[in-house]
Amino acid sequence: MAIIEVRDLNFYYGKFQALKGISLDFAVNKITALIGPSGCGKTTFLRSLNRMTDLIEDVRVTGTVLIDGEDIYRPGTDLLALRKKVGMVFQRPNPFPLSVFDNVVYGLRVHGVRDGKVLEEKLMRSLEAVHLWDELKDRLDDDALKLSGEQQQRLCIARLVAVEPEILLMDEPCSALDLAATANIEDLMAELKKRYTIVIVTHNMQQAARVSDVTGYFLLGELVEIGETRQIFTNPQDARTEDYITGRFG
């Protein structure tokens, strides 16, 4: 079942067209990887799924993006509810300069949760979901900026799952991490997909091959090909995809 249905999405920064007629579906509880060279529009596409692109001046969008059957570009869309439902993990771990506790419950407080018991309960469950609870349960008042890079990225994921989203958008979540940390985060993603639908943008083709169920290849603002990850990497239908994954281009 498709949780996100994108139909003929065109995206413009001023006069520059960054996305050209993108149509695709994302299935529930699957990891979809979007690969492609820098500047191909994959990050723009990712950000258009929770309208983070609205923060940029002078952008224009045509086409439809249905999430749970609702067109998120319909005028009057509740952006706060949309972003609560469709959360985001960024390239660099970016905890707020607050304590571990305040970081994880930030989204909950923003959405009006005040009850200390509820906050503590959700904090514990969120940190457990990213396997940080045992490490950090005695350090909840520590400055989050003092954690290691991997811990910070896990914390950011915990901060996100605390608001109970349905979809996680990940924009090269491992690009600032070392190999061991990357492997750990990838394991975490495999666990998270049981509960969430994940879309990950990555430069790293091995990563796409390792973690994803479905892979889409973007080039110059177009979706060249999308299919089962195994099929894309073993038997691509489009010559341009083949050039990219075999390393002849990109």
Binding site: N50, M52, L55, E57, L79, L80, A81, L82, R83, K84, G87, M88, F90, R92, N94, F96, P97, Y106, G107, R109, V110, H111, C156, R159, L160, V163
Partner: protein, 279 residues
């Protein structure tokens, strides 16, 4: 003339720059030394806690200290929220379009206006038109307008230095702009904003021209914001100009200088802490 070799040139430049720095620091130290040498002998607990008597010829300066504090306090109370609010609007709520540029340009112009013009403006608007008379209220309002540009500028810089990622993340978690501003941006920018405000306190303490027209020069202890008052700076000016008491004038000046130095050192300390936090 034969050109100097690069090594010699370097030596000459270094010596030249060193001399310029020495002159700058020397002038500063001379002023401080000059004032303190004449002013410090006059200072005593009594000078600080007694009210002026005999037009300031004898007695202390207590009522003028109270006047200075009252004026600065009122000015900051008005200017800080206005200035910080404007800075938030300019940095967070506009895309930097023509309106933003007009507001920013206006604030810059405000900063370049001589303080005596502010005094005259305050006199016409607050003292006569609005009938606040010569009062702490008129003086405080006038001074507030003088301080606005500094507060706007320093707050803007502080807010801009907050990493953009904090905002992006906050929005991505479904916060409103206001939540983002109050929960993430302002707490991070606060030390910088406070620095600007403290700097403004320093400026307001020394301000003379703007207050002489608006707060008057009454030596009595002020009893409300509608009382006329004479801040230390004006007291010094009158004592010296009318030749009432040079020693008391220097005593007042010494108190002023020490207060301003203290505030600048505090500013420096705050600024250092702010910089360390974000580097």
């Amino acid at each position: 003339m034969k050109r100097l070799g690069p090594r010699v040139e370097q030596k000459v430049a270094q010596a030249g720059l060193w001399t310029m720095t020495l002159v700058t620091v020397g002038v500063l130290l001379f002023i401080i030394f000059f004032i303190l040498r004449r002013g410090l002998p006059v200072l005593s607990l009594e000078f600080l806690t007694a009210n002026p008597a005999d037009m300031g010829k004898s007695g202390g300066i207590f009522s003028t200290i109270v006047g200075t504090v009252a004026l600065s306090f009122l000015a900051i109370l008005i200017a800080a929220p206005l200035g910080v609010g404007t800075a938030i609007y300019l940095t967070e709520y506009t895309w930097g379009g023509p309106l933003t540029r007009v507001i920013r340009f206006g604030a810059e112009c405000l900063a370049g206006i001589p303080s005596i013009i502010f005094g005259l403006f305050g006199f016409i608007l607050f003292v006569t038109k609005l009938k606040f008379g010569w009062s702490i209220l008129s003086g405080g309002l006038t001074m507030a307008f003088m301080l606005l540009p500094t507060i706007i500028r320093t707050s803007e810089e502080a807010i801009k230095s907050v990493p953009p990622a904090y905002r992006t993340v906050s929005f991505s978690l479904g916060s409103t702009k206001w939540q983002t501003v109050t929960r993430v941006v302002l707490p991070s920018a606060l030390p910088g904003i406070v620095t600007g405000i403290v700097l403004s306190v320093g400026r307001s303490i020394g301000e003379t021209a703007a207050t002489i027209f608006t707060a008057g020069s009454a030596l009595r202890m002020p009893t409300s914001i509608f009382s006329s008052t004479r801040p230390m700076s004006v007291h010094f000016y009158i004592l010296a100009r009318e030749g009432i008491s040079m020693s008391n004038a220097y005593g007042t000046a010494a108190v002023l200088i020490i207060a301003i130095l203290g505030i600048n050192i505090l500013t420096y300390y705050l600024m250092n802490r702010f910089i360390r936090k974000y580097s």
